[in-house]
Subunit: 453 residues, 2 copies
């Protein structure tokens, strides 16, 4: 296989998997998934090289795992031992920003930050904005990444218009195009989005861009409890104010986030430990955003907010950024696992209380924040004992799915949540997934350790 891999990408772009120089590439950011040791790491330079790599591995009976930026939180990019790790770092070109059709065509290794900056030169934005904007387009397509702005713009799935990808047999498929809609047979674009590198390796991505909104206003509203806060979220969403951000942070998370960012908001001390709702409005015209901010304050006040703070631009930006980095803050604080279940928006409060009860039952500490507008709850679980941690997580997944939720809203299944999906997912649906996977990858070469048990 080594000869074939070298023939595929060149000797400069193949490194043995146990070489110390690639140690950092052998795991993503998932807290509970140990690094693997791939046979080789390869860096293809274009689509044909990706196809040649796939054929080489397949011929040798070896599996492949794709790696974007490795910021994933589910172990989806963590290679199984012996697999070929396909790193997309060299395929990082923005091929086209088309301001007329408001689309971009990029290679999978392009980062969200670079794409958004390039779009910005045309007054456009790519609004998929998970906490870590070093994430790659290929990785975000494979996880269907969300982030804070999904409440207004939708997740990755809403933005991907077309893909080029290499299938398990090395064939190249092209789906969609610069088309905002299509109804011409099964939507293979949508099937590949969220498939975590198990159906195809993505070699080109066409995404929709949006006009960049110049005006922003951000308010922070502490609530007496999560119930009141979640009820307020429903009212904000149904108000038609179309918030650009609608985030929940519990008191301890707020403290951790502000401390990590060295940010003081000057809140009265008795409010810091409250449950916080952070809402950003964005628009084209200052006077409308100002008017909407007043309406928002009224909605939040009527919904029981203890106060509504209009954040100055600098603090607002820093708080939003600090919230994006909440993962690092809770990781630094010693969190043992992070999960991101999604439940019906109105069930968030019930889920939070059941999740905390699950924590209490097993002596675990459970902190929460989340993309409240989407019903997507991010829980940090502190429990050093592996058995108790597993029990806590089990009960958390049980609570969320019993409320009509799913095991992940945006981080994906990966290796971290495959057992939870197997236990709590729809069994017929899982069987369908297995059949689809077998149809496209009969030998199981694409990320076989990922997503299914």
């Amino acid at each position: 296989m080594l000869d074939d891999l070298i023939a595929a990408v060149g000797a400069d772009h193949v490194v043995a998997g146990d070489d110390p120089s690639v140690a950092d590439l052998c795991a993503d950011e998932a807290l509970g998934v140990p690094a693997g040791t791939p046979s080789y790491v390869v860096w293809p330079g274009d689509r044909d090289e990706v196809a040649a790599v796939v054929r080489a591995a397949r011929a040798a009976g070896v599996s492949l795992t794709a790696r974007g930026a490795g910021t994933g939180l589910s172990g989806a990019a963590t290679p199984d031992d012996g697999a070929v790790l396909v790193a997309f770092a060299r395929m990082d070109r923005i091929l086209e920003i088309d301001p007329v059709d408001a689309v971009a065509v990029v290679q999978p290794g392009v980062s969200l930050a670079d794409l958004d900056a390039a779009a910005g030169e045309h007054g456009l934005t790519y609004p998929v904005h998970p906490g870590e904007t070093t994430a790659s387009l290929g990785g975000t397509v494979a996880t269907n990444a969300g982030g804070m702005r999904a409440v207004r713009y939708g997740v990755t799935r809403s933005h991907v218009l077309g893909l080029e990808a290499v299938l398990a047999d090395g064939a190249v498929v092209r789906t969609g195009g610069k088309l905002v809609k299509v109804s011409s047979g099964y939507d293979l674009t949508q099937l590949l989005v969220g498939s975590e590198g198990t159906l195809a390796l993505v070699t080109e991505v066409t995404v929709r861009l949006h006009p960049r909104l110049p005006v922003r206003r951000t308010v922070l509203a502490p609530f007496p409890d999560a119930d009141a806060l979640i009820a307020a979220v429903g009212r904000v969403v149904s108000s038609g104010l179309e918030p650009a951000v609608c985030e929940y942070l519990d008191g301890p998370t707020m403290r951790a986030v502000c401390a990590a960012a060295d940010l003081s908001l000057g809140l009265p001390e008795d409010l810091v430990d409250a449950d916080h709702l952070l809402v950003e409005l964005a628009g084209r015209r200052q006077e409308r955003v100002d008017e909407d901010a007043e309406e928002l304050a009224d909605v939040l006040g009527a919904a029981g907010a203890r106060d509504v703070f209009d954040l100055p631009t600098g603090s607002a930006r820093r708080l939003v950024e600090a919230r994006e980095k909440a993962f690092w803050a809770v990781k630094a604080a010693g969190a043992d696992e992070i999960v991101d279940l999604v439940v019906p928006r109105s069930s968030m409060a019930a889920f939070l209380s059941r999740a905390r009860a699950a924590g209490d039952a097993h002596g675990s500490r459970v902190l929460g924040c989340g993309h409240a507008g989407d019903g997507n709850v991010h829980l940090a679980v502190f429990q050093p004992d592996p058995g108790l941690l597993e029990k806590t997580l089990h009960d958390v997944f049980a609570a969320g799915t019993a409320l009509g939720g799913a095991v992940s809203g945006e981080h994906g299944v990966g290796r971290a949540k495959a057992h939870a999906l197997a236990e709590f997912g729809d069994p017929v649906g899982l069987d369908v997934v297995r059949r689809l996977r077998a149809a496209l990858d009969p030998d199981g070469v694409l990320n076989p350790g990922c997503a299914l048990r």
Copy 2:
């Protein structure tokens, strides 16, 4: 099989396919697809009856075609001879309008009009609005219907959050839920949307609702030619004005539509035959919509509109409705086929001129209108000679796909466009579709005559 079908749905709900009482059910509205003669038409009353019907047909080696309201324009609901036609008319209950989570849960036989009316009682709307609102939720899910409001709200795909469906083996799968986003394995909801009854029969649909916008303003702008009009569409979309409707009508279509609706807009005679752009703005506040209408008029004027008419509410509503019914108008005028290719928005003008040239080359008349904001061009082709009609259509599909387009933007492939998809679709993609279909329906019982050749 008859005994099994009767056992499944009751004798009152099975009729022989050649019974005159069911003649109307044996075709949809596609102009070029002849009616089929099913063996039986059955009307299941619930999910379990659907599953029993599927098992009965499969056991007998007979295929099944689902039928919603039969308003489809691609022959997707037209049964193959001998198939069991599964009519969803009895499964027409709105199970839940949940204003807190802004979702609805409905049976597949519910019409768009009924769902939108029920949502309206809560200040909400289901904005999927193809020209024919008698269309059913099941049918619109299966075709991924679009319509005039897709430019703002997206197509059916953007709204379906969860499904219950019966697979080819009679098993019941549940996908998604009241969840605005999810990343927990392949998105089976999205795979089933647009699958035209070939992967599963949908028995329950969960969709997202939106706040109903109370204020509307509509303008009509005649342009000197399609090039200028299409360039204007790009500017309207990138303006951030978020039009609720953005429609193109050529002069003859405008005449036909107004005549069919007995509508006089009082346009100067020399403008009636121009290329028309119809734009509707919608919002929460009158003063903003008014201000936006002025901005829109400026954008259109700067883009070369010959004039910009602010339509009075009554005429605007009637014109929008008449445009929705354009299909009936051009059908009455004797159109022989209607196609709805989608191309990159900026390529619409090029596509229109190539499509007209194709018409000229074969002596066919080609009229155009379309959801301009989406790049979705609806062409009516007048050509009584079947051979010349086929040649014209062939060249039209060739022109659209050469511009990066697809054979259908919203009507689907069905029986009418299966050959076009086979010729102009991505061959690897078609092979993938075949493998997926075989994986879920190995015996080919679900609508086998549809979508693939």
